[in-house]
């Protein structure tokens, strides 16, 4: 089946088995290796991408779902002003450890920060509750998102569309 969609802002098309996982299409066909497979059952968020601007676990999305839609991965996000700001904040708090879960966190924290983010820790924790990290205990990740919130309030960055 032919699937047409936007990938990181660019139009693209692929003819493939419609039931293939979005995770596999992104990694194998588009070489977007930031999208990681860790659990294969939607329980860890390492494979998170934005589908039509919402975070989803790409290991449970079939490519047919993506037809006519838009997919954004950590590669795309890290090129945007907001993405760069978030990456800076993660660097500043020295949040990352092994890094395997981080692209997933970049996706969900980008979505959070791009949609009227709240400094409230409970809200941030909820937004990131689908991302498992085994290394960090999450503290510095939350700190980074809060730092980004404060910087956004100062900078008045507008809502982004990729």
């Amino acid at each position: 089946m032919k699937i047409n969609f936007y990938l990181n802002g660019k139009e693209t098309s692929i003819d493939t088995d419609p039931m293939r996982r979005l995770l596999d299409v992104l990694r194998e066909d588009y070489k977007l290796t930031s999208v990681k497979e860790s659990c294969g059952e939607g329980e860890c968020g390492a494979c998170a991408v934005l589908l039509n601007d919402l975070p989803v676990t790409s290991c449970l999305i079939n490519i047919i779902q993506v037809d006519g839609g838009s997919v954004i991965t950590a590669e795309g996000i890290s090129e945007t002003p907001l993405g760069k700001l978030i990456a800076d904040c993660y660097e500043e708090t020295n949040a990352v450890q092994c890094g395997f879960c981080f692209p997933g966190f970049l996706v969900t924290s980008y979505h959070y920060l791009n949609n009227n983010p709240d400094l409230d820790e409970d809200k941030i924790k909820w937004a990131l509750s689908g991302n498992i990290c085994r290394c960090t205990g999450y503290r510095k990740i939350i700190d980074a998102v809060q730092l980004a919130c404060r910087k956004l309030a100062d900078q008045e960055l507008k809502h982004e569309s990729i």
Binding site: P18, M19, G40, V56, L60, I64, T108, W126, I132
Partner: protein
């Protein structure tokens, strides 16, 4: 697996009618893809329906709320209509799986997958929700309480699909529904016990999940509480509960724990309802 992508609802219904044998409907795919991963689907036909606009969205009329079958959990919990008329439904969905999964998992999917632990079902049961089932030739309304007939057995025919979930508007209760989902952790958890409870005029509607082959109303408990609202007895209440639930022990939990926790929350909800 042969995948069909119908252009519209009518075509989908025709496919359901014409294709022989068992068919799977692909909406969000959060459950279907697990079945595929476990090798439970081999060469059955898959009909993709997530793109059909007729099946999506929250609407209402004077007597009921109408939730399209493929409306996602996130869409329901952020819907202005739901937040206005049924805010506890929106609240109850906050801990559904995780935010990314809620973004593509659908209400009908959760109902039709018929897990005994389905998160959405207990509360919908006490709200007296109904399912609109359609085939090429028929449209029928089935109360959710009659949808399940056994472990993973549903009344949905091979040629039918769920079009919408209806919630009657006459549930504006004197007492707010209370709902609890108990898992091994707060987020990303399967329910070990779920309890939904509402006092409506002098009636009680109580439904439990993860305690039977499918989520169901606790009619014996409802009757006991209604008749003995002034002289509730713990031992009698437990007796009534035991008539309504058959908890099991599995990897996740023990049957004694499940029974006791259900009982504890039953007591709490009764107390709350009586003090309001």
């Amino acid at each position: 697996m042969k995948v069909y992508k119908p252009e519209n609802l009518s075509e989908a219904l025709n496919l359901l009618s014409d294709l022989p044998g068992k068919k799977f409907l692909l909406a969000g795919g959060s459950d279907l893809n697990i079945l595929i991963k476990l090798g439970k689907i081999s060469d059955e036909a898959i009909i993709f329906i997530n793109h059909l606009p007729e099946l999506r969205g929250v609407d209402m009329c004077s007597t009921k709320l109408i939730i399209g079958a493929t409306t996602t959990i996130s869409e329901i919990s952020s819907s202005a209509i739901i937040k206005e008329y049924c805010p506890y439904l929106a609240d109850s969905l906050i801990d559904f799986a995780s935010p990314p999964i809620a973004n593509f998992a659908t209400l009908a999917g959760n109902i039709a997958n018929s897990s005994p632990t389905a998160d959405t079902v207990p509360l919908l049961l006490v709200l007296e929700a109904k399912l609109v089932l359609k085939s090429v030739t028929t449209t029928r309304i089935v109360p959710l309480s009659e949808f399940y007939t056994g472990y993973k057995k549903i009344v949905l025919q091979d040629d039918e699909l769920i079009i919408a979930i209806e919630i009657p508007l006459n549930f504006t209760c004197k007492y707010q529904p209370q709902y609890i989902k108990i898992g091994s952790r707060t987020a990303l958890t399967i329910a070990k016990v779920a309890l939904a409870f509402v006092k409506y005029e002098d009636n009680f509607k109580i439904a439990a999940g993860s305690l039977n082959e499918f989520p169901r109303r606790l009619y014996n408990v409802e009757e006991y509480i209604t008749l003995h609202s002034q002289d509730l007895n713990d031992s009698e209440l437990m007796k009534a509960l035991k008539k309504d639930v058959t908890p099991i022990s599995d990897f996740r939990s023990d049957k004694e724990y499940r029974l006791q926790v259900c009982f504890n929350y039953l007591q709490k909800f009764i107390e709350s309802a009586n003090t309001d």
